[in-house]
């Protein structure tokens, strides 16, 4: 779709890859899927002390059609999983997912009948940020790792490269 189909193989693609990667990583618009306590730390990441707009990400679009990265912040229950998956399906590609917090990464401290033990059971995740809740600085670390992944990935191979990175 779009750029990828118009490009072929060759030396031009590496420069274009770098350019497109640079543009994409510096203008990520997050979709804050703030479900519980981590959402408050996500909001704190946007406050004047830890300023998320220095990375260009203060544009928290709550519409999936207009956003690039979905930050799942909080415990996802089985009832909510269907909703998260719907939102993920509606996002336009290229899209990335950050699992923020212990609950989104692996179920966290809630090992019970209604909590999904990790959102990677139903959405592909790119970066995991650990913490309960992760400090805003930790979330920025995760965002920087994601930016590195975006800038180093090739546009043509986007769909194949889905390895996840773990951040501690």
């Amino acid at each position: 779709m779009g750029l990828e189909s118009a490009l072929g193989e060759g030396y031009l693609t590496t420069t274009l890859d770098a350019l497109i990667g640079w543009a994409r990583k510096n203008s990520l618009w997050p979709m804050p899927m703030g479900v519980s306590c981590c959402a408050i730390e996500l909001m704190s990441a946007g406050d004047p002390r830890h300023d998320i707009s220095r990375y260009g990400m203060e544009v928290m679009r709550f519409s999936p059609r207009q956003s690039d990265v979905m930050i799942v912040a909080g415990t996802v229950t089985y009832k909510m999983a269907k909703v998260v998956r719907k939102i993920y399906d509606q996002m336009a590609e290229p899209r990335w997912v950050i699992a923020m917090g212990a609950c989104a990464s692996s179920g966290g401290m809630f090992r019970s009948y209604s909590v999904v033990q990790g959102i990677d059971l139903f959405v592909p995740v790119d970066v995991y940020a650990a913490g309960c809740p992760p400090r805003p600085e930790n979330l920025f670390n995760a965002l920087l790792v994601l930016q590195k992944k975006i800038s180093s990935s090739s546009v043509l191979e986007y769909r194949n490269s889905k390895e996840s990175l773990i951040v501690t």
């Binding site: 899927m33 703030g34 479900v35 519980s36 306590c37 959402a39 408050i40 730390e41 909001m43 704190s44 946007g46 406050d47 004047p48 002390r49 709550f62 909080g74 415990t75 229950t77 009832k79 909510m80 909703v83 998260v84 998956r85 719907k86 939102i87 399906d89 401290m109 809630f110 090992r111 019970s112 009948y113 209604s114 909590v115 309960c132 809740p133 400090r135």
Partner: protein, 434 residues
Amino acid sequence: MSTPYNTTEDYFDVPVLTGQLPPKEKRTKLLQALLDMDPDISFDDPLENDMILNMGPSHPATHGVLRILLRLDGETIVNAMPELGYLHRGYEKIAENETYHEFITHTDRLDYLQPVHNNIGFILAVEKLLGIEAPPRAQYIRTMLGELARISSHLVAFGVMAMDVGAMTLLLWCFREREKIHDIFDLVIGARFTTSYTRIGGLSQDITDEGLHAIRAFLEQFPERLNEGERLLNRNRIFVDRCRGTGVISGEQALAWGLTGPNLRASGVALDLRRDTPYLVYNDLDFEVITEPECDSLARYYVRLREMKESVRMVYQCMDKIPAGSIHAHEPKKVLPRKERIYTRMEELIHDFMIVNFGVNPPSGEVHHAIESSKGQLGFHIVSRGEGHPWRLKIRSPSFCNLQALPVLLKGHMLSDILAILGSLDPVMGEADK
């Protein structure tokens, strides 16, 4: 793009287009309840005029994952049905499998805007069951940090209500102040957000002079910041017009629907558990119970604003009266011993082993203790059968009870009033869904 959902019906529980309802056998119970609740709405037009709008769980302004189904006649709300359960984490079932000490970290995540308060509420219930009392210094510190947590929770309510109505500046200012409170918690407790501060019989660590100094420095500049925020909103034509007269509920109705906390006090009913059934050191403090006679959203906003100022006064009084002493009660088999004694003495080693592995063994019985949290009355009912973990723990969460009044508050208002009303009601879904 292959997805597991292929048809529109799989995606949407409610109709997308106006006037098209699914046939009766395919309707969900929620939709049917929404339609049944007002059977006496009659229309002249044979095509039904009302539209069903889903204000879904993923929404920027629903304070978490709250789903509201609205039945609209144009822009006017005919009926509203909140649906909960999108954050139901099974706290009460988890509590039946954990010791009392292990559950303290879970209580942080209940009302996640004021974790210290939830810790205090739970530990007071456990101490009531065990029949022990924390020493005075611990009680003063608990009160002080509890009031700071109340200030930080009201700041979020303040900021988010203003943002939902349109005044985005205030959210950033409130979060700036909240960061200062988080710094204080970081300094005193060690964690900025999910604190797990209280322990049975006391606290996890003592407060130092540096901590007291930091609290004083924060409190000295806080009223001026609050003033700046007030100057933006109190006489702001847009804010006042959007909030005045919306979400009116009288005092008796509020009691009948189970509202507590600032929502009830804004309807003129002076119920404040800090004064009426005092716990911790509220008996020694001098404070006012703030009520407002008009029962609308603006009154709820004013109550929270004035409560923040009262909390500042209360923290000053606590800091002046705080006594010296230990912060742990002297109950060897129930209170976790100090680490340095565990490594050097045998009795403490054995007690620590027993308490951590098997739990404190309280007597059999049922107790209930309620505190006044920033959302309302937060109560913990513990049924114990003499084991280290509770047989049943019931959390009476104020947001759950406050949300029940939402259909009553919303009926007859316009679509854009929902945000002002929901912001003034201030529910927190972590607590409402347990």
